[in-house]
Symmetry: C2
Subunit: 406 residues, 2 copies
């Protein structure tokens, strides 16, 4: 009898962390960071701070402010060194030397599992530092201070981290929930136009998947959001983060062991477009194009009512988000060609593993999953979006005349 014995092992783990929304996080009177870090035994904790160079440029006084904050709270927490500055943007995820640089600092300053790494920056820097901190000592405590709309409403609040490898986005990474997330809304005011707007693509995405009334709110508030109304943005960020967090907590598969990843709606094309544009396209912009692509595909397929499709495209356009980029290519595309956006479908499947599983919209606020995509119809979809992009004045009313549901 070859099989003598079996032990069925079950390991339950519960991760808990708070996502806090505040203003002026490093201001002298703000107690949020201190309350997050202060040791329960009254001991002073060690903290390594990593700062996104782009944020440092936008807020030249920030490093000094951080130093002053720690000096004020020296009884509870000590900065082991001045903030370690790393380049911002997706490039930081493509060079493993940055991971080494953060780990060198963790080692040199004796940061342990009860010490803290604080990362202040955009989603890419948070991802990279998260990977460095998540593998040092099998995970030291990470406090994320996301500074962009995208990082505050999506990438910075979840349980993943990563860097790029083999020319593929997020190829290396771990699942490692943060110790805490501190969203300082004051950082958003300084964002340049593209970053202010592009992060809203994730809000559109999660509203489409989960919450029709949030979608309506976005429609109503699109003009205010475009006009940089900070109060509107605060609500958009909060509600989007809340919907993402509720999904992660309730999905039953936060570490993505199965094939289903509804939050990656629109992302198969988005990841590929980011890579095809060498990350000149922002993640949020790429997601907007990906949403336009998959929603138009669903409409052409007859899964999504045309009126809903029109609302989606109109909202993306009202938020000044792109719905087409030249890298989407033309109808001649070959899915086996890595320079074709269609090859992104298989790369997406491979990253998830298992069966291809693509979320597609059936109504605003509701999605389903499909396991194959029709390349011919995808090429038609691209053609339609190109058309809409070339003749924006026609608006979205052209679909019904030009491309009846099939």
């Amino acid at each position: 009898m070859p099989l003598t014995r079996v032990i069925e092992q079950t390991v339950p783990v519960t991760f808990r962390y708070a996502v806090q929304f505040t203003h002026g996080l490093f201001g002298p009177e703000n107690g949020v960071l201190r309350d997050t870090l202060a040791g329960k035994g009254g001991e002073s904790v060690k903290v390594l701070c990593v700062l996104d160079a782009g944020v440092g440029e936008a807020f030249p006084d920030l490093a000094r402010q951080i130093g002053a904050y720690f000096a004020r709270h020296a009884d509870a927490m000590q900065l082991v060194a001045p903030p370690l500055v790393v380049p911002g943007g997706e490039r930081v995820k493509g060079d493993t030397r940055h991971v080494g640089q953060v780990q060198d600092a963790i080692h040199a300053h004796g940061i342990d599992r009860h010490s803290y790494v604080i990362v202040v920056g955009g989603g890419a820097v948070i991802d990279m530092v998260g990977f460095a901190a998540g593998t040092a000592h099998r995970g030291v405590r990470l406090v994320r201070v996301p500074t962009t709309v995208l990082a505050q409403n999506d990438s910075g609040v979840g349980v993943k981290n990563s860097v790029n490898a083999y020319g593929k986005k997020n190829w290396l990474g771990t699942f490692a929930p943060p110790y805490a997330v501190l969203n300082d809304l004051d950082f958003l005011a300084a964002l340049e136009e593209r970053d202010w707007l592009s992060g809203l693509a994730e809000a559109v995405k999660v509203a489409l998947l989960k919450d029709a009334s949030f979608f309506t709110w976005l429609e109503e508030n699109a003009p205010a959001l475009v006009a940089r109304d900070l109060e509107a943005m605060e609500y958009a960020v909060y509600r989007c983060a809340e919907l993402h967090l509720a999904h992660i907590a309730g999905s039953g598969d936060p570490f993505e062991m199965g094939s289903s990843r509804p939050l990656d709606f629109g992302h198969w094309a988005a990841h590929k477009l980011e890579s095809l544009t060498s990350y000149a396209l922002r993640h949020g912009e790429a997601v907007a194009v990906g949403l336009a692509l998959d929603c138009t595909y669903a409409a052409l397929k007859g899964m999504l009512p045309e009126a809903d499709w029109r609302r989606v495209l109109d909202l993306l356009l009202a938020l000044r988000l792109p719905v087409y980029v030249p890298e989407l290519g033309t109808s001649a595309q070959d899915p086996a060609d890595p320079s074709s956006v269609l090859s992104g479908l298989n790369e997406f499947r491979e990253h998830l593993g298992g069966r291809l599983t693509i979320p597609l919209l059936t109504h605003i606020g509701r999605a389903t999953e499909v396991h194959e995509m029709d390349f011919g119809l995808l090429r038609r979809t691209v053609g339609l979006l190109q058309d809409l992009h070339t003749h924006p004045t026609r608006g979205t009313s052209w679909l019904s005349t030009k491309a009846p549901a099939c």
Copy 2:
């Protein structure tokens, strides 16, 4: 009001995996591996196999057998390439090129989250491959086939993986439970003397912590174990794995977010001794010395009854495990000197983080935790073990005359 809103996030995750004990895993009639891997949808799954060079040498026909097994089950599973051979032993954890080599293969062969990496080898190779697989695509499925006593009864059944960095054992790693563990007891018969015996140190450890009757079983079966009785070894491995697994499942802190790590009993000195001997000392041998050290310390401290202490030392000696090595040093040791074993206490604290927490025995089968260790008493402990090592014929009865409890 600086703090505007808080979302308290709770992420429950449950990991499940089977630890199976079998014989002749790659034999043509053994269905265990096939049943573990076969896709539920009837599709054929991709498998990358990584093989410990030491195991390949001990079983020169193994690579061919593995190939034949997969050929026989080609409907359900395909080997993407001949087994990738990596060096065995702790050295493989010190050179990050090996992690790169495994990840190159994962990438080149399109191993995704629903494909498999099978690692056949000792604990060090399993640790290294686990880190490579645990970070590729944020974790591809890993099936561990541990080939040593130590890996089958302890390191190969748990939820951790790691490599060494900055001259420190396990500095880099993740928590990532395996997809399955397949313990083929036939591998044990080929082990050289040192590896056959040294893995039993973890059995002594977990018996001391958790199960006095298993300790008694070990005492009674020590002669059979030393005489390489395979049936006795099978039970020792099974019971030790079972106790480790039960602890991990029930501890409430499998990912070690707190300060308490009872299973690391005897390990503060063990990790340091491994490093001081450049890993010439096997992990199990180092653990035996570490157990002798901490039990003798507890006896001298008056925490552990002398009769219990004597049983511990007698069992270690009966199993031909070391209780002293020259690297333990002499009484002149300085805990601030990294070449002193005493410096291992702080390195251990730093790896865990937070407060120093050392498990010490109070009775056979029961431990408590202390938060400081007396360096003077530790030096005396070392002196006593050196004495016992130099004059083994005196036996353990000398403690009461020479060193009354203080």
